[in-house]
């Protein structure tokens, strides 16, 4: 006679699936040993589960659509790159929390960080610039041909053109230094390709031709700014002493590039609106020399990069925090107002900024003379810049938590 209660279907299923506590399982086992009805129920359940397993393997799984592409091997290197960022998001996460920071400022923070030497790493380098460039070149080759346009800009001029230039076009036309073709000479002086200058290929050819160079790779991640990698190369072996290429992380597409020469900086950016195919708009000039006047903009405007360079230089002499130094962009200049600093300190600031072309230093005397006009009010960018630098300083103090990857 079996005095224990019959096991229900749920308990029997759990008995099969080993989901019962040991005491419960013991009790069910004991009951089953003496209850034909429950044993039969258990057999039916087992058969149903076995039938379902067969259905799962032979019907369901074969009917579910397969992956559209062959499986690629896992890219563990990409994980290293991403984890380097995710382990150390402090710099970008904290700047991004500040609503007052514009997206470009957050994005440019990596460049400033590079100048400030935030990237003194304790970790071994995990991503090499050359490898990243090679991957970007492969991605460029694999990507469909696009008719994109780029802007090449110096402090005084900008030149909008198709990203790729047909090989048949003239390369050696006489140039005037005031003409944007000066840009061409500048790039040619550094053996930097003009055919498709905003590309990993062009950057890589210049980079690979350098007998001596230092590389850094930074990861940019901030809300509102597409995640990207910045390859920053410095060298003494080229007229370009300092170059940065920004690659969009999703497809390693080159979105911007900055080339710093001794007395000029060339910035290349992708223009968001893609131009139609060249054959559909023959009126668009491919070379600036052949362009009508409007293609050359003589309006000089100081850019965010100029401002960030100034901030970086001020940081080097610790003039960025706690001192009455105001920085703002105004037309062609980055105006640095040192009102309130003693003359000796003013001189130090002046010296620190001597190599930044766009700087205009405003001293106490000029303020009193009224020569600075609208510069009397402290510009709003000052606080933002100082906040940014506070973050950068904090990041520099904790090198193990920066988003920089050295090479």
């Amino acid at each position: 006679m079996n005095s224990t209660p019959h096991a229900g279907d749920e308990v029997l299923l759990r008995f099969i699936d080993d989901d019962l506590a040991p005491a419960e399982a013991w009790a069910v086992g004991t009951h089953l040993s003496s209850c034909d009805s429950c044993r039969s129920q258990l057999d039916d359940l087992n058969e149903t589960l076995s039938e379902y397993q067969q259905f799962h393997e032979t019907v369901l799984k074969t009917k579910l659509p397969p992956p559209p592409l062959p499986w690629k091997p896992l890219d563990f290197r990409a994980v290293h790159l991403r984890s380097a960022r995710s382990n150390s998001p402090r710099l970008f996460a904290s700047t991004a929390r500040r609503a007052s920071l514009s997206p470009w400022l957050a994005a440019a923070a990596a460049l400033v960080a590079a100048y400030l030497g935030v990237n003194r790493l304790q970790h071994p380098p995990v991503v090499k610039a050359a490898e990243l460039l090679n991957r970007a070149i492969r991605a460029e080759h694999a990507a469909p041909v696009r008719n994109r346009s780029i802007r090449i800009q110096t402090r005084r001029y900008h030149w909008d053109r198709p990203a790729r230039l047909p090989a048949a076009l003239p390369r050696t036309k006489a140039v005037n230094s005031q003409d944007v073709s000066g840009i061409r000479l500048l790039l040619e002086s550094a053996s930097y390709s003009l055919d498709d200058p905003l590309s990993a290929g062009a950057f890589s050819r210049w980079h690979d031709g350098l007998p001596e160079k230092q590389d850094q790779v930074a990861v940019l991640a901030a809300p509102g700014v597409p995640e990207s990698y910045v390859i920053h190369t410095t060298t003494t072996a080229s007229p370009i002493s300092d170059a940065s290429l920004t690659l969009r992380a999703t497809d390693l597409h080159a979105v911007s590039c900055t080339l710093r020469f001794a007395a000029e900086t060339v910035e290349m950016t992708e223009i968001a609106d893609e131009s139609p195919a060249p054959h559909s708009m023959p009126e668009q000039p491919l070379w600036p020399e052949l362009a009508p006047a409007p293609s050359v903009s003589p309006v000089p405007v100081a850019g965010p990069r100029d401002e960030l360079m100034v901030i970086a230089m001020l940081h080097r002499i610790n003039a960025d925090l706690g001192e009455p130094v105001a920085v703002r962009r105004s037309g062609p200049n980055v105006v640095v107002n040192v009102t309130g600093l003693d003359p000796r300190r003013q001189e130090e600031v002046k010296k620190a900024l001597a190599n930044v072309d766009a700087v205009r230093l405003v001293t106490n005397e000029e303020e009193r003379d009224g020569t600075t006009g609208s510069q009397r009010r402290p510009p709003p960018q000052v606080d933002i810049a100082n906040l940014l630098l506070a973050e950068l300083q904090a990041a520099a103090a904790d090198t193990s938590s920066t988003g920089e990857i050295g090479d």
Binding site: T48, Y52, F55, E57, W71, L74
Partner: protein
């Protein structure tokens, strides 16, 4: 002793198809399911590299892939499964390379399966993939008692289909 890269590569080769199929059964498109699968295995690698205690790689992968799939597509937009598949499985002429009697059983199971709730199907699927109840619960982010209930009811319906 294998490195984490070797360990994850091996798990990837063994289980990626199963994980992909599970995600597709959740209503994730095949290309998206492929991306999520790849990502889940890379996350496993990161977890192992960080020294996380991952006892059952396969269960861990199903859980992370499931959650990541829900991140990729909001729950509201997740379709239970491709309607054609559901119709196909309901179809009693479903072609299976088995004996006639087996074919008939599979057809009955297909009909019963298409009448189950999405949660019941998910529980059955994960169980058939070898996950324990607690692992199914963690994957679906429900309680173990819910898993027991979903499975018990699902099996009861399947049993009815097999024996009637």
């Amino acid at each position: 002793m294998r490195t984490h890269e070797e360990q994850v590569t091996r798990a990837f080769e063994e289980s990626r198809g199963d994980v992909h199929r599970y995600l597709v059964s959740l209503g994730v498109s095949p290309p998206q399911a492929q991306e999520v699968t790849q990502e889940a295995f890379l996350r496993l690698y990161v977890a192992l590299e960080r020294g996380e205690d991952v006892r059952n790689l396969r269960a861990w992968i199903f859980r992370v892939a499931h959650n990541h799939a829900l991140d990729v597509r909001s729950k509201d937009r997740l379709r239970p499964i491709e309607p054609e598949l559901e119709a196909m499985l309901r179809d009693e002429h479903v072609s299976v390379e088995t004996e006639l009697i087996e074919k008939e059983k599979m057809s009955h199971l297909g009909k019963a399966w298409s009448g189950l709730s999405p949660q019941q199907r998910q529980c059955l699927h994960l169980r058939a993939e070898g996950l324990l109840y607690r692992e199914i619960a963690a994957t679906m982010q429900i309680s173990i008692s819910s898993v027991r209930e979903f499975l018990s009811r699902a099996v009861a319906r399947l049993q009815k289909a097999v024996y009637e």
